[in-house]
Amino acid sequence: MTRISSPAAPSRFLIVLLGARYLALDAESIQGVLTLEEVGSPDDPTIHGLVYRAINLADRLRILDNQGSAHSRIVLLSERGVQGSIRVTTVQGWLELHPSQVLPLSPQFCGPERRWYRGMILFEKSIALVLNTSWVLDEQVASVEDSGGQGGIPRLVAAPKMSVKNSQVC
């Protein structure tokens, strides 16, 4: 019996714009994409009984985003039982890629952003940064853990300290 090795399965990504930057979200983490009208209140939308706590991604990434466009969408995310929602400027569409088409973030980027992104995708004439959904939802994990009242659990999104000397990095 001959075993046939199958190539790695393609991955699907939702390409969105946040401010003027392309971001890619892993389809496996996406529970839905809704308009602001469909959501009602963008603060912690509740869909089918599940609360998707609102995450201010632009703030966390320090991206200038003029919120409130008619094209804005709320993306519902879920991973390992943790839910969250992010507002994006526009949704560009779905992209199916072979894993090898996801480029690693250049090693010269050595700050906490290494945890923010899982890589880069060539998109149109630009690139889309693949968001690490675990990091996006980390804030939710911390909130859930904090609300459990057990205390003593450090927040997962703390930025490591970096040394900076002149123009040297890393």
Binding site: R21, L61, R62, I63, L103, S106, P107, Q108, F109, C110, G111, P112, E113, W116, Y117, M120, L122, K125, S126, I127, L129, A159, M162, S163, V164, K165, N166, S167, Q168, V169, C170
Partner: protein, 148 residues
């Protein structure tokens, strides 16, 4: 996209240094030619939100994506000219791009006897040399990504 400097030493027995002299914010800097992988027109950088000092964007050149080291910002200068250039350098972690002034870089051959220690603290340097009243630092590309 290079001019040839006028101070070539022809037929010297000692090993001379091949340098590329370029400008950032009107300031003259040098880099070892062996550390340079290319020069091209500067393309619009793509911002990458992060906290790595002076590396906050990438440039796309075809299928290649290069991190940008903002040399001008690290020197508190502003790149001059309406058509800046992209200097690609060979960094130990991979190629990097830097935006430099539009003035065409010059190849320069340096006699090792002219090499001196650079005492400035504003950029990592492999040394410097004097040209008239100017001290021209030789940028240490490898140290741009080194840990302290």
């Amino acid at each position: 996209m290079l001019r040839t400097g006028q101070n070539h030493h022809r037929g010297t027995a000692r090993q001379s240094y091949q340098l590329l002299v370029f400008f950032v914010g009107g300031r003259r800097l040098a880099v070892k030619a062996v550390d340079v992988s290319g020069i091209s027109q500067w393309a619009e950088p793509i911002p990458v939100a992060g906290r790595t000092p002076f590396i906050t964007s990438v440039v796309r050149q075809g299928q290649t994506v290069l991190p940008v080291f903002d040399l001008a910002a690290s020197l508190r200068l502003t790149v001059q000219g309406s058509s800046p250039l992209c200097l690609r350098v060979k960094h130990s972690l991979g190629e990097m791009a830097m935006c430099i002034d539009e003035e065409i870089p010059v190849l320069h051959t340096l006699d090792p006897a002219m090499l001196q220690t650079y005492h400035g603290k504003d950029l990592p340097a492999d040394g410097s040399y004097t040209n008239g009243l100017d001290e021209i630092p030789i940028l240490s590309v490898s140290q741009l990504g080194s840990t302290e």
